[in-house]
Symmetry: C2
Subunit: 346 residues, 2 copies
């Protein structure tokens, strides 16, 4: 009897809410209790950005993401390049060189052919920039009113770099946390274009493939512990997930987190906390303290890392939690959000 | 200027139609002219059920499909097991042993949690039966009215069997064409449950993973030329694609094609041609004539092949086309349909 043992009791959630896809604690519970626990296997249980497994003499990474961003065209990109960059970055976060991408389209009947063409061209351009190939695909069309313009799924295969062993479990007290630049650009860009807001300075999505940045980092250090792209749920969710998985504390320094003035301003207007806002071209890098300087300098020489900064460290207190040292010297706990700040951000 | 060079001129199709996803000639044109030509690479150009490439010492197959079937629950299965079986079968058609599957969900806000749970359990059961693991995933939720209950994308990775080289280009005049059982069950099941029709005999979907059948076939012959699952567009579209790709003629024997009486009857009521109707547990096997007997006998010993039959052959006349010898001895051309017989069949 199916009704007896649904892992999310209907007394709590009879129906799926937007927040179940928001990247916060409701998402995590759905994914953990419904999917991971039931599909149960060692690879899925890694709770990683992708699965990493041995095939013959090689270690491969395999990842998937569906993109449902709304609007589909936005300053700095569109759903097409986002679908390539996002999946490339998930492979990067597995410590892999991205190689092959699949593309599966769910198109709503009546979608303008020209818009599809723009999306396809952007995907090709993004794939070329990242040096990956779109090697297989699928096209479905659903009746008008049963979809929303276009949804794109991309899955990706990459080859894990020799000697690299990246896993959220591997961060250690003392590890230094770096980020490659300004936070919250993507989420604020989407939110403001959705709201029809215009700010004095045009805020663009940071959608960008980070595999070439990883190559640069690897040229100075192979001693990386964790790589994580702070997408849905932003830096707060990404660091909370890592802290929980590794059962360590993470301390962030508010003053060190790079954020554009106009993004800060937009967040105030929109009532959003930039720590919870999605990025699509950012990566958190956890390295032992002795490697941090070299990694930071190398990141700053790459166009995708020129505003890189050290933003935190791994510690032994507040295990499983993320704390934020504010400018005035106080410390606050940075929770995982339970709900949905920004639906359909990617 | 994007408007100058859209490969599908807006004078012809300003908007995407349901038929662009139907598996017929409009689909083929969208996929060929918009996607394959523009994403252009050797692997994609194989025009296969998946991409096959070398990684180190191994040959891998990689495939993707999004499932948008409506209704999501139907006699004989649901969108969950379909999403596993369909992707497993695409890997089988690449001559691969299916290993790893990704699962990406696009859920409509308000979807009943119990229904999600039923789907998840079916996926797990199907994965276990096929011996594959669901190793990575993604969950998105879209606003009510912007999706349709649930869409599932699965991508899959398989290992191509040593010495197997399956490709639609490899069929040769003289090749014998086998199928593993009754055609059109899936499409007729979906169509009749959608129409709310009840037939005297309950027609069930044939949704089934065929990798164990392939293992059995390989135990008697490794000399297979083409494997193809006749899903969207049915046997007619699958054979037309192969005939066009290989530039050979395909002759089918109408009387030899296994079809249940009740399916034939339902097709008459619904006004459908069973040759164009989707299957989800069928495979076309092209083998040299000297291998056909052994392959047929072995197929008939497997539960998924007990109604297997020889249904046609590859010939030199009518190059690029499919002909059908009817019971009364006449021959007709079996065209690729241009439109959409059954939208959202998988």
């Amino acid at each position: 009897d199916f009704n007896l043992n649904c892992p999310i009791p209907i007394s709590e959630y009879e129906r799926v809410l937007l927040a179940h896809g928001g990247g916060g604690s409701l998402s995590n519970r759905l994914i953990g209790d419904m999917f991971i626990k039931h599909f149960d296997n060692d690879l899925l249980n890694q709770a990683h950005d992708g699965a990493v497994f041995q095939m013959g003499h090689q270690k491969l990474a395999f990842t998937t993401d569906s993109y449902v961003v709304q609007p589909i065209f936005f300053p700095g990109g569109n759903i097409g390049d986002l679908a390539i960059n996002g999946t490339v970055n998930d492979l990067v976060c597995c410590g892999a060189k991205p190689l092959y991408i699949s593309a599966a389209f769910i198109i709503e009947e009546g979608f303008p052919m020209q818009d599809l063409w723009r999306v396809v061209q952007s995907m090709k351009t993004a794939a070329d920039k990242a040096g990956v190939q779109i090697v297989t695909g699928d096209t479905k069309v659903v009746d008008k009113g049963k979809g929303d313009k276009i949804f794109i799924n991309t899955a990706g295969i990459g080859q894990v770099y020799e000697g690299l062993d990246i896993n959220p479990r591997y961060c250690k007290p003392g590890d230094v946390i770096l980020i490659n630049g300004y936070v919250a650009d993507h989420g604020v860009c989407i939110m403001s274009s959705r709201a029809g807001l215009t700010f004095e300075t045009h805020i663009q999505s940071d959608s960008f493939a980070l595999n070439h940045l990883l190559d640069d980092i690897l040229s100075v250090s192979r001693n990386l512990h964790v790589l994580r792209d702070p997408t849905r749920g932003g830096i707060a969710s990404a660091t909370n997930e890592i802290a929980a998985t590794a059962n360590i504390g993470i301390k962030l320094f508010e003053d060190k987190i790079p954020i554009r003035e106009e993004v800060k301003g937009a967040c105030e207007i929109l009532g959003l906390d930039p720590m919870y806002i999605a990025n699509e071209g950012k990566i958190l890098v956890f390295v032992p303290p002795e490697e941090a300087d070299a990694v930071l300098k190398m990141m700053q020489q790459n166009p995708a890392g020129k505003n890189a900064a050290v933003i935190g460290e791994v510690c032994t207190d507040y295990k499983g939690m993320v704390t934020m040292e504010t400018g005035i010297g106080s410390t606050r706990i940075l929770d995982m959000i339970s709900g949905e700040q920004l639906p359909r951000i990617c």
